[in-house]
Symmetry: C2
Subunit: 255 residues, 2 copies
């Protein structure tokens, strides 16, 4: 069997500390390709570029490319134009900031993961849960946690993931890795999302910001609960968004 092919992308851009840490962590598991945006794409979700062409450039590091598009564009371009065969694993991250709870919907990190999953590649997004005042640079992911990520990747390479399922992994800031908890997406809400931007032309404009509220602070089986307790959270995520539990009620609604 040939060496596994691992494709890595992110939404913070190829220069970010997180993607470099991730590439280093899994370097011994196979042949690693990095295809990542040429700059920050935070909040890109699974967006794709429809109104302009997209291009990519090989960088001086072997098998490393920067791309003018979104994280999903990076994956689509890599698969058709860059990597020599279908990857055995897709990784996205390590994101500067968590993608737990409903933040998964805005996350460019997880957008790339959905894309890998829809292309039937086992795909994992990794993000770092930073609390107020913490920065990624001051709180790099510990070697301990990077070892745990590599072990998780090794197992996924060996065993695969269920159909249409990918993983949303979030890590707490900690020197010692305490272990994984498999959990569900917490119910959450963003509010107070805009602050007025200074504008020299007099027009009102707004910066997106916001405060997150965990709507289930008592629950013990959510990603936020795991992170609060200092565990790495692993949410199995499906790209089938059908609300099966709601089918009957909606069927009555349209009758």
């Amino acid at each position: 069997m040939s060496s596994p092919l691992i494709l890595i992308t992110n939404d913070d851009g190829y220069q970010s500390a997180g993607i470099q840490a991730l590439a280093r962590a899994v370097a011994s598991l196979g042949e690693v390709y990095v295809v990542a945006p040429d700059g920050p794409r935070s909040g890109a979700a699974a967006s794709i570029t429809c109104t302009t062409p997209v291009s990519f450039s090989a960088l001086s590091v072997p098998r490393t490319y920067s791309c003018t598009g979104t994280p999903v564009d990076c994956v689509k371009l890599a698969l058709e134009q860059i990597v020599p065969r279908k990857p055995d694993l897709l990784l996205s991250g390590i994101n500067h900031g968590d993608n737990a709870s409903v933040s998964i919907h805005y996350s460019g990190t997880m957008g790339a993961v959905f894309e890998g999953c829809m292309k039937e590649i086992p795909s994992i997004g990794v993000s770092l849960y930073l609390q107020h005042g913490q920065s990624y640079e001051d709180n790099p992911v510990s070697e301990d946690a990077l070892t745990a990520i590599a072990e998780l990747c090794r197992r996924v390479l060996e065993q695969g993931l269920p159909q249409d399922t990918c993983l949303n992994v979030n890590l707490p800031v900690a020197h010692r890795f305490r272990g994984w908890q498999v959990c569900r997406q917490a119910r959450g809400r963003w509010s107070a999302e805009w602050i007025t931007a200074a504008n020299p032309r007099g027009q009102q404009s707004f910066w997106l910001t916001g405060q997150f509220t965990d709507l289930e602070p008592q629950a013990e089986d959510t990603d936020f609960a795991a992170l609060r307790e200092g565990y790495g959270s692993v949410v199995p995520v499906t790209v089938d968004m059908t609300a099966f539990a709601a089918m009957e009620r909606v069927a009555r609604l349209v009758q």
Copy 2:
């Protein structure tokens, strides 16, 4: 009880024929606000604008605003800066092209709907399934179908939707509306996604395009099956992306 407040957005921009048809269709149900992008945002998914400020302008039509951001930005701005109270219903569309199967993940139309749902507003996305060579302008949504959408909205205003659940509605091109089918998201795959763009500077660049394949052409309970048969498809969609069916297998994987 005061008149319901209905917020409408889309990803094709406020000038598009689809959003105007939708606003007209539900005008008699309540007080309608339109807050939509200032131009096309196809493929915007649930992306948000993090790197620049966003602004909006009131247009000459009452309660109609254009916004420089994404569809999700439109919803977030409308809720905090424009509408006088929490909307009773959020609509997005009518999109030029379907958002059935996995296209839901790239859809700016549905991104706005997820946002409404996460803000606990009953939310519905409406898209038009155009086949090769069809354009929205040549195939406007029939009066018959617009009446059916208005009736669906009336019922949702009356009965609400289950928690964390929104609707992904797609319409076939047809003069007579044949009825709704409540269904699940079809498994599908996009491939052959890039064509080389002419580039006067010599750099290789690529336009995103692609061919869609329904991976379950025999299934009768999917959105694509309903559309092929000439029905309007209604997929109940959950913003909880947890793959509950995969929890045990993933738990064994990380043990």
